[in-house]
C-alpha cells in the first residue's frame, strides 16, 4: 500500500516535470506576429478577426534547413533565384514511356506550385525552433517505435502486394499534409475558411477534408475518440486564433509522430494577403523536445473544386491489376523456360 503511494507520487512528480517542460509550446513563447503598419485586421459581423476566403500555402521552402545553409533567412534575391530553380525542376518534361510520364503531367494541368499562388517566405526552413531549423532528436522510445514500424512495413510485403500497402494518399484516405498541422502539398495546397460566431471551418481541398473548430471553450473530446485528424478546440488570444488538437489515431504521422502528439496552431492575419500560420508539435513519445514551424497562407482565388479522390481512384485499381498481371506473365515465362 505504502509502496503504491510512493510510486504514484513519483509518477505524479514525473508528470508535473514533463508538463513543466512542455506546457508552454515554444510557438506560444514566441510573440505572435503583428499586422504590418497601417493595416487594420478586418472583422466579421461578430467582431472576430476575419479570415474568410480562399488561401494557399504552396511553398518551395523546405520543412528542415538544408545541410550547409546557415542562418534563419535568405535575402529576397536568394529566394527569387531558388524559387526559379525549383519551378524549373518541377516543370521539367518527363521522359516518354516512363512511369513519371504516364502519371500526372503537373505542368500541363497547372498543378506546379509556380502556377498557383505561392506562399513565399524568406525562411531557410519552415522550422524555426529548434533554432537550427531541424526536427529535434528522437527519444530512445521514439527510435524503438520507428524500428517497430519499419519491421511491420517489411512484414506487410511489397507496396503493390495489397491495397493496404499503398500510401494513404494513393488510397484516398487522407493526404499526408492534411494535418493538423496543415502542411503544403505537392499540388492543390488550397484552403477555404468560413467563420460563424462559434466555429471556424477549414476546408482542405485535397480529399475535401473539413476541420470544424469549436470556439465555445468546450473540453477536449474523450480520449477514446481517436481520429485521423484528431479533435480540435480553438480560442482567440487577441487577434490570433489558437487551435489545440489531440486524440490522433497516429495512422497518418508527420515525420514519425505518434498518437500522443499534441498540435498547437496559431493563425494571425498580418496583411490583406497573408495569414501567418505557426504550429508546435509536442510528442514526447517521439522527440526529445517540441518543435515549431511557420509558413504563410496567401490569399488566392476560389473556388475550391470537389476532390472526389476515392470515387475516381482508377490509379490504385490499375496499379494493383498491373502488378498481378506482371506476376502472371513472370510465372508463365518461368513455366515456359522450364518446359523447354
Amino acid at each position: 500500500m505504502h509502496h503504491r503511494f510512493i510510486s504514484s507520487g513519483s509518477i505524479a512528480a514525473t508528470v508535473i516535470a514533463m508538463s513543466l517542460l512542455t506546457a508552454n509550446p515554444v510557438a506560444a513563447q514566441t510573440p505572435d506576429p503583428t499586422p504590418v503598419a497601417g493595416y487594420t485586421v478586418p472583422r466579421t459581423a461578430d467582431g472576430q478577426p476575419d479570415f474568410e476566403g480562399f488561401w494557399s500555402n504552396a511553398t518551395y521552402t523546405p520543412l528542415q534547413r538544408r545541410d550547409g545553409v546557415a542562418g534563419e533567412f535568405y535575402t529576397a534575391e536568394e529566394v527569387a533565384a531558388s524559387e526559379a530553380r525549383a519551378a524549373e525542376r518541377e516543370s521539367a518534361q518527363t521522359v516518354p514511356g516512363t512511369t513519371a510520364d504516364v502519371h500526372y503531367d503537373f505542368t500541363q494541368f497547372g498543378l506546379d506550385r509556380s502556377q498557383s499562388t505561392l506562399a513565399s517566405s524568406l525562411r531557410t526552413s519552415l522550422i524555426f525552433d529548434p533554432p537550427d531549423g531541424r526536427i529535434p532528436p528522437r527519444t530512445t522510445a521514439g527510435e524503438r517505435i520507428m524500428a517497430q514500424r519499419e519491421e511491420q512495413a517489411r512484414l506487410r510485403g511489397g507496396r503493390f502486394d495489397a491495397v493496404e500497402n499503398n500510401q494513404l494518399s494513393d488510397r484516398c484516405i487522407i493526404m499526408g499534409g492534411a494535418g493538423p498541422p496543415m502542411m503544403n502539398m505537392v499540388y492543390n495546397s488550397n484552403y477555404q475558411i468560413v467563420q460563424s460566431r462559434d466555429y471556424v471551418m477549414f476546408l482542405i481541398e485535397m480529399i475535401h477534408d473539413a476541420r470544424i473548430i469549436p470556439l465555445d471553450g468546450r473540453e477536449q473530446a474523450d480520449a477514446n475518440v481517436r481520429q485521423w485528424m484528431g479533435t480540435s478546440r480553438g480560442h482567440w488570444e487577441g487577434d490570433t486564433l489558437v487551435v489545440e488538437t489531440a486524440n490522433f489515431n497516429g495512422k497518418n504521422p508527420i515525420r514519425g509522430s505518434t498518437e500522443n502528439m499534441i498540435v498547437t496552431e496559431r493563425f494571425t492575419r498580418v496583411d490583406d494577403e497573408t495569414i501567418v500560420y505557426r504550429f508546435t508539435i509536442d510528442d514526447a513519445s517521439m522527440w526529445t523536445r517540441p518543435w515549431s514551424a511557420e509558413l504563410p497562407m496567401k490569399k488566392t482565388i476560389g473556388p475550391l473544386f470537389e476532390h472526389a479522390c476515392h470515387e475516381g481512384n482508377y490509379g490504385l485499381y490499375n496499379t494493383l491489376v498491373g502488378a498481378r498481371r506482371e506476376e502472371r506473365l513472370a510465372a508463365e515465362a518461368a513455366a515456359a523456360l522450364k518446359s523447354n
Binding site: E52, V194, S196, V225, Q227, F305, E311, Y317, E327, R328
Partner: protein, 275 residues
C-alpha cells in the same frame, strides 16, 4: 352497445379536437416562428442537424424488410417508414421505373453508399448521420459526417457549375425566413436511397431550409430531372438539432472500411509469391 358507441364517439371527438389543435399549432409554428438572427441579420441556421426517419433506406413509403446480409440478422434489416416523398410515389418515366427496380435488385453491387462514395444531394441531408451548418454572410458550409461530404453554398457571386460533381454546385439566397439553395451540375452516379431511386446528370435540386422552432428545421426539396421523371416532385421532412452540449461532427472516413470489398480480389496470392 349504445354506451359503447357513445364512448367511442366521445373518444373520436376528443382525438379530432386534439388533432385539429396540433395541426393548428404545427401550422402556426411553420409560419410564425422567427429564427434568431446572425450578427449579419440573416436567420441563424448554425448548428448540428440530423433527420429522424428511414428515408435513407427508401424515400417512398415502405414496410420493414430483411437485410441483404444474412449473417447480420435483425441488425441490418430495413426499418419501416412512411416515406418523405410528397404524395408517396415518385413520378418515374416507365423506362426509368424499370431501371429503379433493376437498381434495387442489384443494390449490393450498385448502391454507391456501400462503396463509401459521396452521397449526393439531397441524400446527404437525410442519411442517418449528423451534418453541421457553418454560416457566414458569403458562404454557408454543410459538413456531413458520412464520408466527410462537404457542400459550399455560395451566397454571393453565383456562377454556373464549373464541372459535374457528386455533391453538385450550390447557389444560395434568402427568401424571408427561408434559405433557398439551387443545386445543379451533378453527375449521374448518386442515388436517393438504398432502394435504387436514382436520377440523371440533368438533376436540378431546389432546397428550402426554414427554422420551425429553436431546435427544428423544415426541409423541403423539389426534384427536377426530365430524363427520369414525368414532372417535378417534392419531398419534405423536419430536421432536428443535436442538442447535446458536446455534439460534434466526428470522422466517418469510410474509405478504409471498403478497400477489401473493392480491391480485395487484387491482393497478391500466396501461390504467386515464389516468383
Amino acid at each position: 352497445m349504445r354506451d359503447r358507441f357513445g364512448r367511442r364517439a366521445t373518444t373520436t371527438a376528443i382525438i379530432a379536437v386534439v388533432l385539429l389543435l396540433s395541426v393548428t399549432i404545427a401550422t402556426a409554428q411553420e409560419t410564425d416562428y422567427l429564427a434568431p438572427r446572425t450578427a449579419a441579420g440573416n436567420p441563424d441556421l448554425n448548428g448540428i442537424w440530423q433527420s429522424i426517419n428511414t428515408a435513407n433506406w427508401n424515400i417512398e413509403p415502405h414496410a420493414a424488410a430483411p437485410g441483404l446480409a444474412r449473417e447480420l440478422g435483425a441488425s441490418a434489416a430495413v426499418p419501416p417508414g412512411l416515406g418523405i416523398v410528397d404524395g408517396g410515389e415518385i413520378p418515374y418515366l416507365p423506362q426509368a421505373l424499370a431501371q429503379r427496380d433493376e437498381n434495387f435488385a442489384n443494390r449490393l453491387d450498385l448502391d454507391p453508399e456501400i462503396k463509401c462514395y459521396l452521397p449526393g444531394v439531397p441524400r446527404a441531408t437525410y442519411m442517418p448521420f449528423p451534418f453541421q451548418i457553418i454560416q457566414s454572410t458569403q458562404h454557408i458550409m454543410m459538413v456531413h459526417e458520412y464520408a466527410g461530404a462537404v457542400r459550399t453554398i455560395y451566397m454571393e457571386n453565383h456562377t454556373l457549375p464549373p464541372a459535374p460533381s457528386w455533391m453538385g454546385w450550390s447557389n444560395g439566397s434568402w427568401d424571408g425566413e427561408t434559405l433557398v439553395i439551387d443545386t445543379r451540375g451533378f453527375n449521374d452516379q448518386t442515388w436517393f436511397d438504398r432502394a435504387g431511386n436514382f436520377h440523371s446528370d440533368a438533376l436540378h435540386v431546389t432546397e428550402r431550409f426554414t427554422a420551425r422552432s429553436a431546435d427544428t428545421l423544415m426541409y423541403e426539396v423539389t426534384i427536377e430531372d426530365s430524363n427520369v421523371f414525368t414532372r417535378p416532385w417534392t419531398m419534405s421532412m423536419p430536421l432536428y438539432r443535436r442538442v447535446e452540449a458536446n455534439a460534434e461532427i466526428l470522422e466517418f472516413r469510410c474509405v478504409e472500411f471498403v478497400e477489401d470489398l473493392i480491391y480485395g480480389h487484387l491482393r497478391k496470392q500466396p501461390d504467386s509469391q515464389s516468383q
